[in-house]
């Protein structure tokens, strides 16, 4: 029997044992706390425990399972909320009440619930790993495709009739080439740290549209792409992720609250159950899986929560869906690594983080991608990770190492947040490397003007940035008239376009079509006003027409479903400018 020898927070040691494998799942002590073997030497086997070790005693037993830490995959994941090690919080609440207890044991999915299964295979079919053998309507939004689990290949010997079945009912029997029979049901297990295989990685070419102007226009992310969102406290990381989770055009959202606030998860749960998806008229929760490992839950489970989220995402990708993973916040995950590493007395690298931090970050983001799945469907996992840099200093290790592996960088800026310019994305520091991959899509789907207008916006903002250095020293008044106009247009872009109010019913989500029309309107104003300035008119006269402020308020004054109203604004611009002539 293997016994607990030492206990130091979430790290326990077993002395002189040769029974364990690295990354094996174990149960620790009388309460059967979930743990994972993280290092083995002749003297000690080290285990990190995913639950509180308060009350654990040396000498209590450790049971090995021979299996790595895994999640249970099957219908019923959507609409659900789990903790970092995939325990369903609803059921825990029913069982234990308001506080989460250590060692509580509940089934991940509901094994009594019946699902309506429609079969897609028949006797004699040859099937293998990843093949879709049936379908279940998991929610009104999402059809769950039943996938053949790993390691099974052969001929279908038996298939049940279409009808209602429970998750563990045998649905299909497969015989492999050695004559062994395998029974398939609706669930399967998968190790959280092992990426699910696909046939091939496809080039990224479609944007993940979020309805957030500064993202879709300036720094778009591709379906299957990765983005890092660093920002000091209160700069809007969580809001940004919520906006994505609500409005982006992925099929499925996996939202991982990793070491963040309990109230935020409650809010997501409440809000998503009420918010209706405009496309399908169904509550958003029907396409959402929530993973909540709040800051006061055990730290090792925080480390696991990120992986739990990403495997679930891969699982739905393998059914042919576009999945977006929100990880808030990856810094808390990195800190969990640091904490465990510290307790193992490993040699720290930068700022106490373990030397393997960059490789862990890379492994995580590399699980994103646009894939051809084992069943020849196209699916994607996009990952958007929040980063909480210590002291808002982007030179710290987590931000820097994430920057190496993500291709979108949305830098949130404290000064912008202080001025309540939300989304507080700093347009000078942020970037997207996907523009060239996506240009074909934009040109075809939105029109060639989109990227051209975008380019002009970027140019104007860059020039403003340059001019502001002068303005900071001598004030605006001494600038030539055309530069005053440029500054004003830049203000229109900043306040009227980049800034977006998540609490305004029309502004919270803006379709690409309206984004383009807004850009065109602003650039039209710029073009026409420039002509007048060139004719020698004073900029202050233009300013008095109030036309700039009217254009700024277009975002509020033109609802998303009344885009014809834009025509009036062209007239307003003409009239205003004419009055100056």
């Amino acid at each position: 029997m293997n016994k607990v020898y030492s206990i130091n927070g979430p790290v326990i040691k077993v002395k002189n044992s040769t029974d364990f494998q690295i990354m094996e799942m174990v149960f620790v002590g009388d309460d059967k706390l979930l743990g994972e073997v993280i290092s083995i030497s002749e003297e000690f086997t080290v285990i990190q425990v995913y639950e509180s070790t308060v009350g654990l005693k040396p000498g209590e037993e450790i049971i090995s399972t021979g299996e790595p830490i895994s999640v249970t995959l099957g219908p019923g994941l959507l609409t659900n909320i789990f903790d970092g090690i995939q325990r369903p919080l609803n059921k825990i609440y029913e069982k234990d009440g308001k506080f989460i207890k250590a060692g509580t044991n509940v089934d991940t999915l509901d094994y009594d619930k019946e699902w309506e299964v429609h079969f897609l295979v028949k006797k004699g079919d040859k099937i293998n790993f990843g093949h879709v053998f049936g379908e279940v309507e998991e929610t009104t939004l999402i059809t769950h495709r039943l996938l053949v689990p790993s390691g099974i290949e052969g001929e279908v010997k038996e298939v049940k009739k279409d009808g209602s079945y429970k998750l563990k009912d045998v649905l299909v029997v497969v015989e492999d080439k050695h004559g062994n029979k395998h029974e398939l049901n609706m669930i399967q297990r998968w190790p959280i740290k092992k990426p699910r295989p696909t046939k091939e990685r496809l080039p990224l070419s479609i944007p993940l549209i979020s309805g957030q102007r500064v993202i879709d226009t300036l720094f778009p992310i591709a379906k299957g792409g990765t983005a890092g969102v660093p920002g000091g406290f209160g700069t809007g990381k969580t809001m940004m992720q919520h906006q994505f989770a609500k409005w982006c055009d992925a099929d499925i959202i996996v939202y991982v609250g990793c070491g963040e606030r309990g109230n935020e998860m409650t809010q997501t749960l409440e809000e998503f159950s009420e918010l209706i998806d405009p496309k399908s008229n169904r509550p958003l929760i029907e396409r959402t899986v929530l993973i909540a490992n709040t800051s006061n839950m055990p730290v090792a489970a925080r480390e696991a929560s990120i992986y739990t989220g990403v495997v679930i995402a891969e699982f739905y990708r393998d059914m042919g869906y576009h999945v977006a993973v929100m990880a808030d916040s990856t810094s808390r995950w990195a800190e969990a690594l640091r904490e465990i590493s510290g307790r193992l007395e490993e040699m720290p690298a930068e700022e106490g983080f373990p030397a393997y931090l960059p490789s862990r970050i890379a492994q995580f983001y590399e699980r994103a991608g646009y894939m051809n799945t084992m069943s020849d469907r196209k699916g994607s996992v996009s990952i958007i990770g929040a980063i909480s840099p210590q002291g808002s200093d982007f030179s710290e290790p987590v931000t820097q190492n994430t920057k190496r592996f993500v291709r979108c960088f949305w830098a949130l800026d404290k000064e912008l947040a202080y001025a309540r310019h939300y989304a507080a994305i700093n347009w000078n520091q942020s970037y997207s490397e996907y523009i060239s991959d996506l240009s074909k899509w934009y040109n075809k789907q939105v029109g060639v003007e989109f990227l051209e207008s975008r380019q002009q916006f970027i140019k104007i903002l860059a020039e403003e940035n340059k001019l502001m250095e002068i303005v900071k020293l001598i004030g605006k008044d001494v600038l030539p008239e055309d530069q005053k106009l440029l500054l004003e247009i830049a203000r229109v872009i900043r306040v009227g376009y980049l800034q977006q109010n998540a609490f305004h019913k029309d502004d919270t989500f803006v379709p690409l079509e309206k984004q383009l029309m807004m850009m065109n309107l602003i650039l039209y104003l710029y073009k026409e006003a420039s002509i007048i300035i060139k004719q020698g008119k004073a900029f202050s006269l233009l300013l008095k027409t109030n036309i700039f402020d009217k254009v700024i308020k277009v975002k509020y004054d033109i609802p998303n479903d009344q885009l014809v109203l834009f025509d009036n604004y062209y007239k307003l611009i003409d009239e205003a400018l004419h009055s100056v002539k």
Partner: protein, 479 residues
């Protein structure tokens, strides 16, 4: 099973080590009896085979390897609670120190608490009227929120906390049960007395529970003080349907105690010597706020922390800000200018206010007013920094006007002394101030709202600035 051991193997800082110990549990409580008859308390913090490390809360002074008897109590640190704690004063370990004898115990609680299941929580939405404009108007406090005050030494954070407690209580018409829990960590006797006196003056003493670990009390005991206080808060809120306001001061002293404990354990230090798990540890305190489905009560936290050197990027305010639901930041410059409360509104934030303001809660114009005040005041800052380079005289009329707006805003809105302002007064005052600015500069609000609330004439008359140079200059320009 109460095991007893005589003698120690080693003493190191607040830690003692014991050999040949069997059958004790991680984080178990320990009683340490000295030869001289006194008793101290401790907790098992690490177990290595039969070697055990114990943290002694009262410190290890005058302990020797021989003069002690250790008794393991077989359970984690607990505190006995009942509604009789109201009006009482305890030390940092939860023992009564007011000479009124022991309290009746209804239930015992593990002071470490457990994580609240997010499914059990109710998202907080009810706002607390503090009667302070810069809080009610711009960083609204919500019942069940954790909203710290970031301050610095010499600033009036204690006054502000007391004012919030006093005025929040007065405005509560609903006759619901309320209580105030005060946890002092490493503050001076003067500060503790100030709070005590103020609670008496406000007539709420019988609703107050105090947990005091003062500056000259044992440092390690400080690690338990907020945990005792929060256990009491959870008990009253979640078992007894009480609205509890927890004031904890000073979080910085708490963190320093944690640093001392960590370094004596030989842990690898993180930033500024604080342990790598400071975030998790603070979260285990701050997350003990909120509302649950099963009860009518709530726990609202107002932690006070002094930013070392006024540096908001110092690990303590930094990590706190990442956990709490906003922050109220005090500004030394405002304080030096005699403005009370000196709340720096731009870095201050209440994350929960968005769902607790507007029609049905405060007033429908609250959100746009707030957005516009923030935006305009941020422009004031730009104008000021320009003025510091080129001089105020060289500013454009519009910028001069902004400077004037900034002054008015600070002197009329932020500054209010110890008066109590209703939310209506606060919002009206906000519009009056905005009305001082030209209408077309208000680019965060839509026309409909402006039509209702913008009144330039009124602002000019009210603030009595008819003859101001700036206005004249603006007029000359044709505005």
């Amino acid at each position: 099973m109460n095991l007893q051991y005589i003698g120690l193997k080693e003493i190191n800082g607040p830690l003692i080590f014991l050999n040949h110990v069997k059958g004790i549990a991680f984080e178990e409580m320990v009683e340490i009896k000295l030869d001289n008859g006194t008793t101290r308390h401790g907790r098992v913090v690490e177990i290595n085979g039969d070697l055990v490390a114990i943290l002694v809360f009262e410190g290890t002074h005058s302990l020797s390897l021989k003069n002690t008897t250790i008794k393991f109590l077989g359970k984690p640190m607990e505190i006995g609670l009942s509604e009789n704690i109201l009006g009482r004063v305890f030390n940092g370990l939860g023992e009564p120190i007011d000479d009124l004898g022991p309290v009746y115990v209804d239930r015992y609680f593990d002071i470490n608490g457990s994580a609240l299941n997010p499914v059990a929580r109710v998202y907080p939405r009810d706002y607390i009227n503090t009667g302070i404009s810069s809080i009610d108007g711009l960083t609204t406090l919500i019942r069940g929120q954790k909203l710290p005050i970031f301050s610095g030494s010499g600033m009036p954070h204690n006054d502000l906390a007391v004012q919030i407690v006093r005025q929040a209580k007065l405005s509560d018409q609903r006759k619901e049960k309320f209580a105030i829990i005060f946890a002092a960590m490493g503050v001076t006797h003067d500060v503790a007395n100030y709070f005590k006196r103020s609670f008496e003056e406000a007539g709420v003493s019988d609703k107050v529970v105090m947990y005091l670990n003062l500056a000259d009390d044992p440092i390690i005991e400080r690690l338990l003080t907020p945990r005792c206080a929060l256990s009491a808060a959870e008990y009253l809120a979640f078992e007894k349907d009480t609205h509890v306001l927890v004031v904890m001061t000073d979080i910085t002293a708490y963190c320093e105690a944690l640093r001392e404990f960590s370094s004596s354990k030989g842990e690898i230090p993180g930033r500024k010597g604080y342990p790598g798990y400071l975030y998790s540890d603070l979260a285990s305190l701050f997350e003990r706020a909120g509302i649950v489905k099963s009860s009518k009560g709530s726990v609202t936290q107002i932690p006070i922390l002094s930013m070392p050197n006024d540096d908001i990027t110092h690990p303590i305010p930094d990590l706190t800000g990442y956990i709490t639901e906003g922050q109220i930041v005090l500004d030394r410059e405002l304080h030096q200018r005699g403005i009370y409360p000196p709340i720096g509104v731009l870095p201050s934030l209440s994350r929960l206010m968005k769902d607790g303001i507007g029609s049905g809660y405060t007033r429908e114009d609250h959100q746009p007013l707030m957005n516009q005040l923030f935006a305009s005041y941020a422009q004031v800052m730009d104008a000021r920094s320009l003025a510091s380079v080129i001089g105020e005289d060289e500013l454009s009329p519009a910028d001069k006007n902004l400077m004037e707006f900034g002054r008015l805003f600070e002197e009329h809105f932020i500054s209010q002394g110890h008066k109590n302002r209703s939310i209506t007064d606060t919002l009206d005052l906000g519009w009056r101030l905005l009305s001082f600015l030209p209408k077309d500069q208000l680019d965060r609000t839509d026309e409909m709202i402006l039509d209702r609330f913008y009144d330039h004439e009124d602002a000019i008359n009210f603030f009595n600035i008819e003859d101001s140079v700036i206005i004249n200059e603006l007029k000359k320009e044709g505005n």
